[in-house]
Symmetry: C6
Subunit: 202 residues, 6 copies
């Protein structure tokens, strides 16, 4: 879709799904790393995040700090550059654990330099070992993704039964991937790394 | 106008627009960098800022810490000199995300040494990737800018439709720029850098 | 059981037992150590833990910081790598001292590289000297463990009399070990270290 | 007056004006720098100051940290010696932005070694760029200054119209200086630096 | 008694006396020092301690930090190893100053390597100079100590008159030492250091 | 008196006067410096002190950090040794600025090694420049000092008129010194330094 294409054009932004009082909604999770020469390191979280969502960010970071090297990510950047995760819109309070996979994906995208596919949205809690745990609001989230023109949706495997509640006409236009480990999320969501040999092509 | 001309005479001050209980209002956002020999570095925020507005300041700083070097700004100063952002009047509580572009502009003005144009006012939320997101109160803000004699107004592109609500007589006396990226804001708001060759003129 | 087998497949996860409003429940306590090159060290606790449960984590860590070397654990890792303890599900508030043995076991598993046996669940407060102190809800916890297919249960020795309240048909299918020192817990819960000589086998 | 003469005899104390429930009052703002060998540096604020008044102190310090060197002040002391600002009486809560000029003056007096003139009292908010912004209670403050025997009063230029409310008989005995920049305050309030050549006089 | 004998078998645990809603009770105060290679130093306090009881721990530590060397204790350990004081049961809130002597004794036991005598219980506030100040609940505390089989009880000298309220039959089975300085407490409560020459015996 | 003689026998303890719900009372303010090898430095305040009283302690410390060297005190100790100020009884909340002179005296006594005279009690707020400011409750405080057998009382000069309210029979047995600067307090309260030449006497 136009918006997700614009928002995820550069590495560091992933498309999540949320439940609001008015149904489901799409949200974009942005991650950035400060240039090294700009000062102190640490983690900055903004977007009026509630306690549970702040913990999700800590879990996403700890997952990458203990497993990111195995995934080939340059995790030393997390030590040397201030990490900031922001969830617009700035004035809207947000909470809950279901952005865990989206936060992990935004950070992995930023570290890898691989943008997130613009047609992909995702939802799921992540545990410290990378397991994708079930969340609520699958029906509203898929309807929101569909309305926004997103076509590939990643949901926790244990939420599979909730797909029954989604109208068949909507499901027919979506590719839904039930996942149980955040590595599957990263494989499905990130644009493949550019083939290195292209650089040397004549 | 006299006041904005005085207030923005030196780099580090940008003119923003706010909504208050009594309509719109102009506010000046001031940024300063402590001299290096005066001690510890960090970020100081004053002006009775609410949580959302404090987060806007963190986003403005993180944007410059990750993208400022690309804009030619001496971002190493943010590491070596304490950064202070203040929004007078000191006793008036302020909140909301719409000062994001103004804070980013005040900081970029300070770092670049380029003052903000005295006829320019602005409003808009900024995301971590520099996108300008829509805000509220466009009508009241433009009326306030007009009353204050400001003539060039920067608003988020997605607030374009709100211009319909502004009286034509007012709009006729304003140049309104809808913007979608904070780089456009900086291009429009900052006085161009002095031509270096002048220094060498005989 | 399938779930505990999956969850405890790798070192760093231990199976605990809790009492909820709806009876007993199984919970998995996850521990991780960040790779050294990823930045600052310290302790991160997540999972919406209450004050008493956060203190349990501090006690578990202090126990290992003063007694872990005697148990042959590489406790220097606690200084050089950020330690994170998480208790899913992320949005469910949890409290109480009875996860002390489970937290100690998850950390000892992680440090030793020895996974926790998948058939073992445990409950018990731990003191700073490693004593296992009595807890509440033995009946509900054992019923929950039984429902989840867990077969070896570690409880505080001083809770022995509470076993009278557990239906004989359930007890018949469980092996219950009353323990008084956390060293007994570790001996019973951790898979033995692999025989080193296998590495050199031809 | 006797009291302000005693209180401002040494550098580091400036006479301010406040509004209380019972009219106006004179208050003395004290600043001190710890000797270097006495330990950690930082900023200590005491006197039961409210949030706005604490921010005034931060603004005064940042103003001097970025502009003090231009004024010839030894601002490196702010890095190397703990800075303490205190406003007696210790048990009386105080708040508001109008002590900004007084705090800036007390600090500049301390750094310069130039005492504050004993006949001078002042009131005014200070911005980060050194502008003196308008405050409330001009009438009560001038009456209080007059009662206390103070004869030279510095007020914000934008408060000029408030002088109409002050009885002519009082105004006739006061010299009131409306000021718009804190540099004017320092010029008017600080005793001139001793002529250096006196030290070498025979 | 069996429990205090087990609990105080190793250095670092002292037996205190508390007043609860249900009369008096015995509590065990545990202290531990982390191994140096396990990371950052500081003080950890757990056991749901109230503000006054946390201050007692700070006083006990400061007493040993300023007077411990005079008592021959290796106080450098307090700088190099994280100090943890815990008071089980973990979920029971505790407060009040009367555990001061017990905390001081647990720490001195740990530092000296001398266990606390298993028949000794104690109660008393400690001041920063080591004075033992009077406390409440002497009768309930002595009854609780007696029920628990403890036989030597240390109380503040100024609580002497409270012994009148204790049944003569109970007092007859207790040795009560009124003390006024914490040094007396340590002399009475700690097992004498092992005679060094035994190590060299043939 | 016996109690103040015991309490102030060693340097670092000064006798203050307070007003309670039940009239006046004597309190002892204790100061200690940790031995250097015991770890981190800073300031610890205990005794259930309220905000104003904690600020009094900060003012006392800052006064000595900026003026103590002029008084011949070894103020470098404040940097190298943790400073603790405690006001027993530990469980009694205390507040107000009138212990300022007593805190300053306890610290100066500790640093100088000169004990506080056992017959002296004092009350008075201290400002950052060492001025002794007036306090409340003079009558109750003097009655309490008299009851406790204290004979030399230091009060703020501006409280002189309050002596009218004290019964003549009590005043006749007291020596009251009205003071305006904390240096007078130290001169009157501290036992003179021992004559150095005694050390070398044959
Ligand atoms: Ca790893
Ligand atoms: Ca989501
Ligand atoms: Ca960059
Ligand atoms: Ca539990
Ligand atoms: Ca050990
Ligand atoms: Ca458990
Ligand atoms: Ca400057
Ligand atoms: Ca003022
Ligand atoms: Ca000592
Ligand atoms: Ca006790
Ligand atoms: Ca000095
Ligand atoms: Ca006092």
């Amino acid at each position: 879709t136009p918006e997700s294409a614009e928002r995820t054009a550069l590495p560091g932004v992933a498309t999540g799904l949320a439940v609001t009082g008015a149904g489901g909604d799409v949200l974009f999770i942005e991650a950035s790393l400060a240039d090294k020469e700009t000062g102190p390191t640490g983690v900055t979280l903004t977007g009026q995040l509630g306690d549970v969502m702040k913990e999700s960010a800590q879990i996403a970071l700890s997952y990458l700090r203990s497993h990111g090297a195995e995934l080939g990510l340059p995790v030393g950047d997390l030590a040397e550059r201030n990490t900031h995760i922001h969830v617009p819109a700035g004035a809207v309070p947000k909470d809950g654990p279901s952005a865990g996979v989206t936060m992990t994906t935004a950070l992995a995208s930023l570290l890898s330099g691989r943008p997130v596919r613009s047609e992909v949205a995702m939802t799921g809690e992540v545990s410290l070992t990378g397991r994708v745990l079930p969340i609520g609001g699958v029906k509203q989230k898929l309807l929101a993704a569909h309305r926004a023109g997103l076509t590939t949706i990643l949901i926790p495997k244990r939420n599979g039964p909730d797909l029954e509640d989604v109208p068949a006409s909507v499901l027919a236009e979506l590719t839904v991937h039930p996942v149980s480990d955040v590595r599957e999320v990263l494989d499905l969501a990130l644009v493949p790394a550019q083939v290195e040999t292209r650089q040397y092509a004549a």
